[in-house]
């Protein structure tokens, strides 16, 4: 895809998501050929769609397609994936003979899916089972961001023996999912920065626009530094596709969301504390996304554990 094609696609996707009703973004993505894009150009598809979802605070269930496709299963609009419980990233299910137990969360697709893909451990082996919606308990999550339409999902059902997965399959699916979520956070942080920048240029106090105050400028500069660093880790994770580069991108995304939200909320001050201003939607959405597939804190601890166990620090991403 050349830069002109890419720019066109970015604006097409962004416009379509922005124009769609809140509950119709999945349909808009389908119309745009999202699944075909994901199959043909997964990197560009994930970057463009998830960035746009983040930037517009749109709610979609494209994450299901991303994670399902990485398991080697054909994604479709009525197939949901069971995500690990909030803040965790191990496979959400356990297979005991032909009986599957699982607890996790699901995207907005939980309300329309006919089947759920559940990755299960069994001993040291990895399996995937597909269970019908009728044998799954789905409870909507209200939480901090009800507009995200997540659901808590409980599975306790006969599921057949399942399909044995390659031992690395879950890690690969998790890595791609983390890249998608981190990309969405990146888009959201760009929008938070844009809101804070506009406010700083327009808001007058002490006889001048507050953007003239160095304390305000430095907060916005710090914000841009954090976002650019996140985008660099996302590019690195796409260039060198390993679980570790994806984990590092996700950890950076969560940290970035915290940094950006703190600076932008302070710059937005009173208006950013109200629901009249859109900032709160981005704040709440990124608080959810930060914990999805593992928080920055927990990922950092897990990475540090690898370092101490190996007694070495991998450099990754060479020139």
């Amino acid at each position: 895809m050349d830069p002109a094609e890419r720019a066109l696609l970015e604006s097409t996707v962004g416009d379509a998501i922005a124009a769609a009703d809140a509950t119709a973004i999945d349909a808009a993505l389908t119309d745009l050929g999202w699944l075909e894009m994901l199959d043909a150009e997964p990197r560009a598809a994930i970057e463009i769609v998830f960035h746009a979802l983040g930037a517009t605070n749109g709610t979609a269930s494209a994450l299901d397609d991303v994670m399902v496709s990485a398991l080697g299963i054909a994604p479709r609009a009525d197939l949901a994936v069971l995500l690990p419980a909030f803040g965790t990233w191990d496979p959400p299910g356990h297979l005991d003979g032909d009986h599957a137990h699982a607890d996790g969360i699901a995207t907005a697709r939980a309300s329309v899916a006919r089947e759920f893909v559940v990755v299960c451990t069994s001993g040291t082996d990895l399996y995937v089972v597909t269970v019908p919606q009728s044998s799954v308990d789905v409870v909507p999550v209200h939480g901090i961001d009800p507009d995200a339409r997540f659901a808590r999902v409980h599975v306790d059902t006969g599921a057949g023996v399942g399909v044995r997965l390659d031992p690395d399959a879950w890690e690969a699916s998790l890595a791609l999912g983390r890249r998608a979520v981190a990309q969405q956070i990146s888009g959201a942080t760009r929008s938070m920065l844009a809101l804070a920048r506009t406010h700083a240029l327009e808001r007058v106090q002490f006889g001048r626009a507050i953007v003239r105050f160095q304390a305000v400028r430095h907060r916005l500069a710090e914000t841009l530094v954090a976002i650019e660093a996140l985008d660099a880790t996302l590019a690195a994770a796409a260039d060198e596709r390993t679980p570790l580069t994806a984990a590092l991108a996700k950890a950076t995304a969560g940290r970035t969301a915290q940094t950006v939200a703190a600076h932008c909320q302070q710059v937005l001050a009173g208006i950013g504390f109200t629901t009249d201003h859109p900032f709160h939607r981005f704040l709440k959405r990124t608080m959810l996304l930060e914990g999805l597939l593992g928080s920055s804190d927990d990922i950092a601890v897990a990475i540090g554990r690898q370092l101490l166990d190996a007694r070495r620090v991998p450099t990754l991403i060479e020139l």
């Binding site: 920048r197 003239r212 105050f213 160095q214 430095h218 916005l220 990922i299 554990r305 450099t315």
Partner: protein, 388 residues
């Protein structure tokens, strides 16, 4: 070995380089126990440069007109990073090449470039950079060290320099100095600056090393009293010195950073090798790698943009903030992983960690403070308008 270019060829270059460095490890390794004195570190670097120059490695990525073998500048970047990762040369000292040689190549008469750059690359000479002054920290355009022509500035055969520089790295070891002087009025700011290439044994130059917070005398004050410099040692044009100073920035913000990053990874690894295996330390080490990786990812993109011919500009202030933040974060992590080493241990390890920890505090100060970088980001990248 074939001449390496950019792109995928750099991985071949890296592989060959590492094979060669492995094979010549004994010859290249320091002859002293780490960290060694500054005298030992400087001698080690010059010795390593000499060996690498003779073997050709120091010449890749430099133009043939400067004694190089051509090829992508990424080769230089890769070499410097490999030496830092193996503790064969201190990256802070070694990467001075990147802010000195390109200046000569871009602004000196071709004959001078051909004569002197190989001396720098081969370790036969050391050079220093005379930019900062007591009244000129991050505000470089305020510099005041004055150069006056002997006669008409257009035809003068020599100039006389008076003034003082400070924070001049390795001045006491240096044979030459790339010197910025004031040739216009003080109010002319960046329009009235001229760069000279000065021999440090010229009468009238006095070097007074400064002891840093870590006890090392890496920097010096340099005094110029009626120092006469031939006009053919002007780099660029009279009053065109700001362009000379700015031309360094792309290298300072790319290859130099990549070397520093390699060194920070190595130091974090050394701390991880010996830190107690606790959950707390896992958190500290993991967070340090998250910081370093983000910096490395950003810098990698910058190296490739430069190699692909892009003009680097204000966006490298982001790289600068990230490298400074990550250096602080790395040494803060090391201090928490090895608290006794930094604070009380008097063995070689303690001496090294203490000196390096204290040195790391400079990261947000030199090369334009963290605050100046944020001002540039606000003005140039976020387009926030003036701040007065």
């Amino acid at each position: 070995m074939s001449e390496p270019g950019g792109g995928p060829v750099i991985s071949d270059f890296r592989a060959e380089l590492h094979t060669w460095l492995d094979r010549h490890h004994d010859e290249l390794a320091p002859r002293y126990a780490a960290p060694g004195t500054l005298d030992e570190q400087v001698a080690q670097m010059q010795r390593v440069k000499s060996i690498l120059f003779d073997a050709g490695w120091m010449r890749f990525g430099w133009p043939e007109a400067a004694g190089g073998l051509g090829g992508s500048p990424l080769c230089r970047t890769e070499l410097g990073a490999s030496l830092a990762a193996r503790d064969l040369a201190d990256p802070g000292l070694f990467s001075l090449i990147e802010v000195l040689a390109p200046t000569l190549i871009d602004f000196a008469p071709p004959a001078l470039t051909a004569e002197v750059v190989p001396l720098l690359l081969s370790g036969a000479e050391m050079w220093c950079q005379g930019f900062s002054e007591p009244g000129t920290g991050s505000d470089l355009a305020a510099l005041n060290c004055r150069a006056v022509p002997n006669g008409d500035p257009a035809t003068a055969s020599s100039w006389v320099i008076n003034g003082q520089k400070v924070w001049t790295s390795l001045a006491q070891y240096s044979d030459r100095c790339v010197l910025l002087t004031r040739t216009g009025s003080t109010e002319s700011r960046h329009r009235g600056i001229t760069a000279f290439f000065v021999d440090m044994d010229t009468p009238g130059i006095t070097v007074a090393p400064i002891e840093m917070i870590n006890g090392v005398r890496e920097f010096a004050e340099v005094f110029f009293d009626d120092v006469v410099v031939p006009a053919d040692r002007i780099l660029g044009t009279v009053d065109g010195g700001w362009a000379v100073a700015m031309s360094i920035l792309p290298f300072e913000r790319s290859s130099c950073f990549w070397q520093r990053i390699a060194y920070l990874y190595r130091r974090l690894e050394q701390a991880v090798e010996i830190a107690p295996d606790t959950d707390r330390n896992a958190e500290i080490a993991g967070n340090a790698l998250v910081h370093l990786h983000a910096l490395r990812a950003r810098s990698r993109a910058t190296q490739h943009r430069l190699a692909d011919g892009a003009t680097l500009g204000a966006e490298t202030s982001i790289d600068k903030v990230l490298v400074a933040t990550a250096e602080h974060a790395t040494y803060d992590a090391i201090r928490r992983l090895l608290p006794a080493a930094v604070a009380v241990d008097d063995d070689a390890n303690g001496i090294m960690w203490r000196a390096e920890y204290l040195y790391s505090r400079a990261a947000t100060i030199y090369g334009g403070t963290a605050e100046v970088q944020r001002n540039i980001i606000a003005r140039r990248l976020l387009d926030l308008g003036p701040d007065d």
